[in-house]
């Protein structure tokens, strides 16, 4: 058992007497590795790869659950129906708008929160950390209800609190129009998910070497110069990872829209459109096609980030 006592770095050292032993061990290690990680791997594949393949297959049929006998292969015609329909483009526009607005606002706000937490006196830091985790831990549906009721006509306080603003009165119906409704949806999303971004950014901030800051300070750099020339470039990886995760998460927006507007007044997101086709209208074929298009959009966004912005995902989440 001499090979096992060596530290990992020296394991591969070629020693004339031991080559067979080492390859035996590495073969055993390989087998053990797959035995341990295999079940998790298979489960992950089963719960995602199988459904998406099924969705791709279903999307090629004209198939209603209310009329299962008349299932017919129609090729790509479901996609043609969707891509020529205004509803699809409206929902895609709404989804993109929510994604861009929330991610940009969250990045700025999250950065500010991270800076405050970084600089805050150590006495209040645990309190801040606990406070900022609360929105993260609150169920999205609960947060959506809280914001809906705050702005709602029947039980809200926003109209009476902000009646001094032009355009806001006791009868302002926030959910009656597309823009005002989307504004409230974005507000709820931003409140709920900014903490996640700010925690990722805080971890990035902590890794900016203090010596660089000191050097810049000695050279007479202003606060703004230090921020844009030293801090932000040095935490680019953290910013990009936060951006990627939040963009993909925002693109799937569903819960808030379901609770707040149910897609009324052109506030439907792509996820909600897929839900409405499949579950409410039982149009399995059309709904699957929307699901596949949503999936492709997510793949496209990830590819854009990874190739376009060179986000190195191998440096994230557990990869040694």
């Amino acid at each position: 058992m001499t090979a096992t006592t060596l530290p990992p770095g020296q394991k591969q050292q070629p020693t004339a007497a031991l080559p067979r032993r080492i390859s035996d061990r590495s073969r055993a290690e390989r087998r053990l590795g797959w035995m341990l990680a295999g079940p998790a791997f298979v489960v992950m594949l089963l719960v995602t790869a199988y459904p998406i393949l099924q969705a791709i297959y279903d999307s090629l049929f004209d198939f209603r659950l209310t009329d299962p006998k008349n299932r017919a292969f129609t090729g790509l015609s479901n996609y043609a129906v969707i891509l020529t329909d205004r509803i699809w483009w409206v929902s895609l526009g709404v989804t993109l708008l929510i994604t861009i607005v929330t991610v940009v606002v969250e990045l700025v706000l999250g950065f500010a929160l991270a800076l405050v937490m970084m600089k805050a006196l150590s006495a209040i830091r645990p309190a801040l950390r606990a406070a900022i985790l609360i929105p993260y831990a609150v169920i999205t549906v609960v947060s959506a209800f809280a914001w809906k009721y705050a702005f709602g006509l029947d039980s809200g306080f926003v109209n009476s609190w902000f009646s001094w603003l032009p355009g806001v009165g006791p009868n302002t119906d926030w959910f009656g129009g597309q823009w005002s409704a989307l504004f409230v949806v974005c507000l709820a999303e931003i409140w709920k998910t900014t903490p996640f971004i700010s925690l990722l950014l805080l971890a990035g901030l902590a890794q900016v070497p203090e010596v660089l800051q000191e050097a810049a300070r000695v050279d007479g750099a202003t606060w703004w110069q230090r921020m844009t020339k030293v801090t932000i470039p040095n935490m680019k990886a953290a910013i990009m990872v936060a951006l990627l995760f939040r963009s993909l998460d925002a693109f799937r927006v569903f819960d808030s829209i379901f609770v707040m507007t149910s897609g009324a007044n052109n506030t439907e997101s792509v996820s909600f459109l897929a839900y409405r086709q499949t579950i409410a209208r039982l149009e399995i074929g059309l709904g699957s096609a929307v699901s596949v298009l949503l999936f492709l959009s997510v793949v496209l966004i990830s590819a854009l980030f990874i190739k376009g912005f060179k986000v190195d995902l191998s440096s994230t989440r557990g990869e040694a």
Binding site: A37, M44, V47, G318
Partner: protein, 277 residues
């Protein structure tokens, strides 16, 4: 730091606390409003009333809310336990062993985590109806693994990389097998990481809404978020706002308590390994 600067950071910190607590305070306040107060247009109730809590815990809405609460706890706990167990073995292999496919497993976890839930749920809706998993606990536990397993694998591999592995080697020198070293030395060292991972995975499962509304139809398996979301539509009450707020408070309290108790660990679990150290 000058005194003025100190005061400034204190104010900024206070703003964060207000930001985080304001909507929570609002929903608590709303849940304590009686029917006369609901539409008073104010933040606070004029008179405290427990009628909303009575309605959902013992009154007419309790047969909707209590089963949902039981479903949520049961389904989320089981899904969390399964994914933690699977992730524990996978993360050990990733952090410790040298085998090809490590990268494949981590990339798969990443891909599953960013997968749009809606794309998974539409085919499952049809399949579950055919094989009898629709509106059952296993019918939700299985898809919940797609939410909890990837984050468990990442978080745990990050935790496992921090473990002093010399101790495992020491155990092996003393004659322990790889398996014994894992069970007797690593498991106790890894327990805090596993615990944190379980909390985070539980949060994610607890938060689910899409699977909940699509794959259930009755009290048999419907979890709380789905029950809340559908409550507004099909309720026999004039004003569902009060009872929904009360139910929202009840499901928020346990997670807030968990956060307050374990905030340091949860933060390190969420960010550990997310950004390379």
């Amino acid at each position: 730091m000058s005194r003025r600067e100190k005061a400034w950071w204190l104010v900024a910190g206070l703003a964060i606390v207000v930001y985080a607590l304001f909507p929570v305070a609002w929903i608590v306040s709303l849940s304590l409003k009686g029917s006369a107060d609901l539409a008073n247009g104010q933040f606070l109730p004029t008179k405290l009333s427990w009628s909303n809590y009575q309605l959902i815990l013992t009154g007419g809405a309790s047969d909707l809310f209590l089963p949902a609460l039981r479903n949520s706890f049961g389904i989320c706990l089981i899904a969390t336990a399964i994914s933690c167990l699977l992730a524990m073995f996978a993360a050990y292999a990733i952090a410790r062993l040298d085998f090809p496919g490590k990268k494949v497993i981590l990339s798969t976890a990443l891909a599953v985590a960013i997968f749009p839930v809606i794309s998974i749920v539409t085919p499952l809706f049809n399949l579950w109806r055919q094989i009898g998993l629709y509106d059952t606990w296993p019918g939700l536990i299985i898809p919940y693994l797609s939410l909890t397993l990837p984050i468990s694998i990442w978080t745990l591999s990050a935790f496992f990389r921090e473990i002093p592995w010399e101790m495992e080697q020491a155990a092996q020198v003393d004659g322990a097998t790889t398996w014994q070293a894992f069970r007797k030395v690593i498991v106790p060292l890894a327990a805090p990481g596993v615990f944190t991972t379980a909390i985070i995975a539980f949060f994610i499962a607890w938060n689910d809404f899409v699977y909940g509304i699509v794959l259930t139809s009755t009290n048999a398996a419907r979890p709380v978020p789905a029950a809340l979301g559908l409550f507004s539509g099909e309720s026999q009450f004039e004003q569902p706002n009060g009872p929904i707020a009360a139910a929202a408070v009840i499901v928020t309290v346990p997670v807030v308590v968990l956060v307050l108790l374990f905030q340091r660990r949860i933060v390190s679990g969420l960010t550990n390994g997310a950004v390379k150290g």
